[in-house]
């Protein structure tokens, strides 16, 4: 498994509230992924199995009606449907440039949060902020979060 720098992990907004041991636990289930320009990272309607954190690169997220937004920042989150029922991706994401992501499997993440309630609380709070913003975007553009 590729080593993940703890300082890098701590600088990600999603993980900034985690302590040393908790960071180590999260690091153990994260996998660095290199994506290439034009690569489809997730497809709308597919089962949401993996959640991503942006380290570098530029991404376009688009919905059924053609509405889209782009992500360019370190620490941005892709694939929040992984933690929201009914666990299928609600948008398609394409890499506009090559970039690096950290991927996290849904099952491993759920296993970890079931074992550690404090860690779960800290991460879910951050994820909920992202979900809230994305759902608000969805409601604004389509009037329907689904």
């Amino acid at each position: 498994m590729q080593h993940i720098d703890m300082k890098l992990l701590k600088s990600i907004d999603l993980f900034k509230d985690l302590e040393g041991g908790e960071l180590g636990q999260i690091a153990s289930i994260l996998t660095p992924v290199r994506v290439t320009e034009g690569e489809t990272i997730m497809r709308r309607g597919a089962p949401a199995q993996t959640f991503y954190v942006v380290l570098s690169g530029n991404y376009m997220v688009y919905f059924k009606g053609g509405q889209a937004f782009t992500l360019h920042k370190f620490g941005d989150v892709l694939g929040w449907s992984t933690v929201v029922t009914p666990f299928y991706y609600r948008a398609t994401t394409i890499a506009l440039t090559s970039g690096d992501l950290l991927s996290m499997s849904r099952l491993e993440f759920l296993r970890l949060v079931q074992k550690n309630a404090v860690l779960s609380g800290k991460i879910m709070k951050k994820i909920n902020e992202v979900v809230e913003k994305r759902l608000y975007f969805l409601k604004t553009v389509s009037g329907d979060p689904d």
């Binding site: 320009e37 376009m60 053609g66 604004t140």
Partner: protein, 158 residues
């Protein structure tokens, strides 16, 4: 005096009608409030987003433009220097945008660019977004920024 006569003599009927009206008005208002409760709860849950919108409107009132629109509204946008190849790509994307009309869906523009065989459509599109030649509206669609497009120049040594 007793019974109905006493009620009539002391405005009993009017008082009863007023009482019924007050009670029913109260019930109607209460039911209306309950039926709209979900909106109040949604507003409460997304209050920070609401504050941001209010802040933006306030900013717009003070300066005449919102943060996101400021770049578009500037009288003299900064000159954008693009490499020759990107200037050419911007011209090609501009033709596609004219074909699509505005506002346009970004994925559709990318799809067209791929179909027409434009060079590295994904990264070019990203570059056009980063240089604010293509700007988002608030509804998930995008606009071509004519003001920036008119200010594009090529490097002198190329």
């Amino acid at each position: 005096m007793n019974g109905l006569d006493a009620i009539s003599a002391n405005n009993g009927w009017n008082i009863a009608a007023l009482g019924i009206t007050i009670v029913f008005t109260g019930l109607v208002l209460l039911s209306l409030a309950i039926s709209q409760l979900h909106k109040i709860l949604t507003l409460w849950e997304t209050k920070h987003l609401f504050y941001e919108q209010v802040k933006e409107v306030w900013q717009k009132k003070r300066t005449g433009v919102a943060d996101d629109d400021r770049f578009l509204a500037e009288e003299q946008p900064p000159e954008v220097v693009l490499p020759k190849s990107l200037k050419k790509s911007a011209d090609q994307f501009n033709i596609l945008v004219l074909h699509l009309g505005e506002p346009f869906p970004l994925p559709k523009l990318l799809e067209l660019a791929i179909k027409r065989g434009l060079d590295r459509p994904h990264s070019t599109l990203n570059h056009l977004i980063q240089t604010k030649l293509i700007v988002p509206d608030k509804l998930g669609f995008f606009h071509w920024n004519e003001k920036v497009y008119n200010c594009i120049s090529e490097p002198e040594d190329e």
